[in-house]
Symmetry: C2
Subunit: 223 residues, 2 copies
């Protein structure tokens, strides 16, 4: 293994660590909502700085690698894509913080209804992140394609959540503020899944050297 | 002017062209809502492929430049940042499409209320994009800082819009579906302003070589 291979390996590990922190943040943010656990929500908010630190570190390390090692072809593509991926991961971390913030607000009020579809959305979105990053470091096109397919499930679930919330609001005006906040959570999860889809699309770009980004319609076109 | 300078200039121009297309998309998407102009909304949706084409072209050109010219220090930083910026711009284009989609739906129904704050949000967000990109190509830290400050105005306006919509829904259940769609538009605009803020933060990173990203709290923490 050359020094460059080791450096590349190190970069991959950092990216996976960042992904794993983001996964935890998303999981805990939804858990803090479902279990009305304010301490956990606060932990998600506080821990976001760890994600941000890794974002900066990966950028710095990537730039240093490019400058020192002058990688070519697929390695150069891999490193530049890693820098683009951190942007998506960092955004997902922010979205987990947004969910935790809404949890802190919603936990002060009576429960609107048991959360069923939202934990399901969380589960799919979290799996999409893990698989998209695995696909990236292993350059696994098949897995990346599967991730992209799963985005529709998240969109369908979001659609159901929003329909149901609209029904609540129309039936009982006292639910409006809470229902809107729950609708935000569903939208944050949908955006998280979109970011995972972005990453998966970059994997296919990396492997094929051609673009499938933008051949799939943006998934959040429907309500 | 060296060949490399010319290539760099070309990259900047492409990035500005992409920014200008995104600005138009955002402007027209809100116009299609306010003026109930379905043809214009459809145009925004159709034109998104131009934004996507530029996104791919800028990535390809950046990778080619790095491989061929092996740029160092600030030039390398500039080119890698350009690739990260296209991710933000491409996302803004998608959000303009989302606005246009909501416009097509809302235009089929009676007007909920005249749009006042939303066009104002659009105006600020659009200015933020233009200035963030200008700050990037001119490496203008002062302008970038101003862009970041303006994000609060957009957040405040969004907050007002959402409060007002919640009031509508609570008063009259028949407005729920429309009000939710309008609330989505306000949130899309807020996300567009967030992306512009991201770009401005990258400018400061580029100029100072240090990170202010993540020293500012994510702006969409409040409802």
């Amino acid at each position: 293994m050359t020094v460059f291979d080791e450096e590349l390996q190190h970069l991959k590990e950092k990216l996976l660590r960042m992904g794993s922190l983001v996964e935890d943040a998303i999981k805990h943010s939804i858990q803090s909502l479902v279990e009305r656990d304010n301490a956990l929500a606060q932990k998600v908010i506080d821990n976001d700085r760890l994600v941000n630190t890794l974002d900066v570190e990966i950028d710095e390390e990537s730039i240093r690698l490019i400058a020192l090692r002058q990688p070519k072809a697929v390695d150069l593509r891999f490193i530049t894509m890693a820098m683009k991926i951190t942007t998506d991961l960092e955004r997902m971390g922010d979205l987990a913080v947004n969910i935790a913030e809404r949890a802190l607000e919603l936990n002060q009020e009576p429960v609107l209804k048991p959360y069923i579809d939202i934990p399901r959305m969380r589960e799919i979105a979290q799996g999409m992140i893990r698989d998209a990053l695995d696909a990236f470091v292993r350059k696994d096109k098949k897995l990346a394609t599967e991730v992209i397919m799963r985005d529709d499930e998240v969109d369908d679930l979001k659609h159901e959540v929003l329909q149901e919330l609209a029904f609540f609001m129309a039936q009982d005006p006292s639910t409006v503020f809470r229902a809107m906040k729950v609708s935000f959570v569903a939208q944050y999860l949908e955006r998280i899944a979109d970011h995972a889809t972005n990453i998966a699309e970059m994997v296919i770009y990396l492997v094929e050297g051609k673009i499938i980004r933008h051949t799939v319609l943006p998934s959040d076109l429907q309500m």
